[in-house]
């Protein structure tokens, strides 16, 4: 089968088709079968992790994925720790990393940073999150999680609850859903956190149907997947606006009392207070399982980009 990932940049999940993502999921299944063991697939390769913005899960899971595949890892984390603090441009840092490595993962608070890095670097560039725009590998993990939980992504009813304006993970998940045939898709958020105009324009262009609503309550009974995201404090131009909106939605046992027994709650983490801890022990909570799939999906992606079998 053709490998469309080989040598490719991964800037947006929209760069990939359903078929591409299904190939990735097959590789993620294979990676899961190797859980706990170290492979030689990327022996001799160097993966550069350039995280100019805080990260826990994404950076660690890329690092573990690369090491499990036998690659060496070099990393830059936090703007203060590098030449960036001395005023070096992203472009120059990327050129340097390009010379030292075979693949670069970039996270940056500026939208378009990964696209710029991809234009500059000869090595493939993977977007580990650029501002409020894209987080394609999180979307891949989230779709894979749904597939593992339900055996399908198609035909399910989805509610995406939270910061659809500044949340790159939740919007990337939405973009990812456009590659499949979901049932109903509800975008649930207070008015100021509705998706940006360009996101709605893209959905319109793709002919993707979804419904915006302010309240989860009337629809919770028909939802299979409830995807929750936090209000993105760091992206709010006005801190007072953030304070006004934080806590404007909370998923707790009362919220879930009228849900289908099989409803699963996903969250890209970290959470603040949008999912009460009392939900963690219920069969609905799937967010820690979701986080655990970060390594196999990123192993799959790294091996496909590098054109190696696992």
């Amino acid at each position: 089968m053709d490998n469309p990932f080989k040598g490719s940049d991964v800037v947006s999940v929209l760069d990939f088709s359903r078929r591409d993502l299904e190939l990735l999921f097959e590789y993620a299944d294979r990676a899961q079968r190797h859980a706990g063991s170290k492979l030689d697939a990327l022996r001799g390769k160097v993966v550069a992790l350039a995280f100019f913005e805080p990260s826990t899960r994404t950076r660690f899971s890329f690092e573990v994925a690369a090491k499990r595949l036998g690659a060496d890892v070099i990393s830059v984390s936090g703007e203060e720790a590098t030449s960036v603090a001395k005023g070096e441009s992203l472009a120059d840092t990327v050129r340097m990393l390009d010379a030292y490595s075979d693949l670069i993962v970039v996270r940056h608070r500026y939208e378009g940073a990964a696209k710029l890095a991809a234009e500059i670097a000869e090595s493939p560039v993977v977007n580990g999150g650029d501002g409020w725009q894209h987080h394609p590998t999180q979307a891949m993990i989230d779709l894979y999680t749904v597939l593992k939980l339900f055996g399908t992504i198609d035909g399910l009813n989805y509610a995406l609850l939270g910061d659809l304006r500044y949340g790159r993970a939740i919007v990337s998940f939405l973009y990812g859903l456009t590659r499949f045939r979901p049932g109903a898709v509800y975008l649930v958020s207070p008015e100021p956190l509705r998706p940006r105009r360009e996101v709605l324009a893209k959905l319109g262009e793709l002919g993707f149907k979804c419904e915006a609503t302010c309240s989860l309550e009337p629809i919770i009974g028909e939802v299979d997947v409830l995807y929750v995201s936090r209000v993105q404090k760091e992206r709010f131009p006005d801190p007072a606006e953030y304070e006004r909106l934080r806590g404007s939605y909370v998923v707790n046992l009362r919220t879930l009392s009228r849900a289908k027994p099989g409803l699963k709650v996903l969250h890209p983490l970290p959470r603040v207070d949008e999912i009460a801890h009392e939900v963690d022990g219920t069969p609905h909570a799937a967010y820690f399982y979701q986080a655990s799939l970060g390594v196999p999906v990123r192993m799959a992606l790294l091996s496909l980009i590098s054109g190696v079998e696992i």
Binding site: G87, S89, A113
Partner: protein, 149 residues
């Protein structure tokens, strides 16, 4: 252009930018980087009568011809404009501007956290046209949409 306006101020050779929406002549000049210190004899007519637009602005620049980049800049500042090349008081060529499909380095992305607005980053803004009427452009880096009047 009405004969009244023509009588008011003519140029021998250069460029006449006509049918600028009323009140936007200074934006056109700013887009062309003309501040007045370049030495061009420049005539600016604002809010003059127009059959097509009701009111319009007109800019005449003596001794300057516009290149394709400058024509695109005029289009982005004033979509209804026409550009005439004048030689010896005669109009030799007249074109209606049209919004280009792609523009590089001409529009500033309004999103402050777009990579094209990052200090010391060697990257030019790049927009592609996404809408017919109203004319809209989308930033190739951050996706922000900009509507032109």
């Amino acid at each position: 252009m009405s004969s009244e306006v023509s009588r008011f101020a003519r140029i021998r050779s250069g460029t006449v930018i006509d049918h600028i929406p009323a009140g936007r002549a200074l934006e056109v000049l700013r887009a062309l980087g003309i501040s007045g210190r370049e030495g061009y004899r420049t005539i600016v007519l604002m809010n003059v009568e127009s059959r097509k637009l009701g009111r319009k602005d007109v800019v005449k620049i003596e001794g300057k011809l516009l290149d394709s980049r400058e024509v695109a800049l005029v289009a982005l500042a004033a979509l209804s404009a026409t550009i005439s090349t004048v030689e010896d008081f005669e109009v030799r060529r007249k074109v209606r501007v049209s919004a280009p499909d792609e523009v590089e380095g001409l529009l500033k992305c309004p999103n402050p956290t777009c990579i094209t607005n990052k200090e010391r980053e060697p990257v030019r803004s790049r927009f592609r046209r996404v809408g017919g009427r109203p004319v809209e452009y989308q930033c190739a880096y951050c996706g922000t949409m900009v509507r032109l009047e």
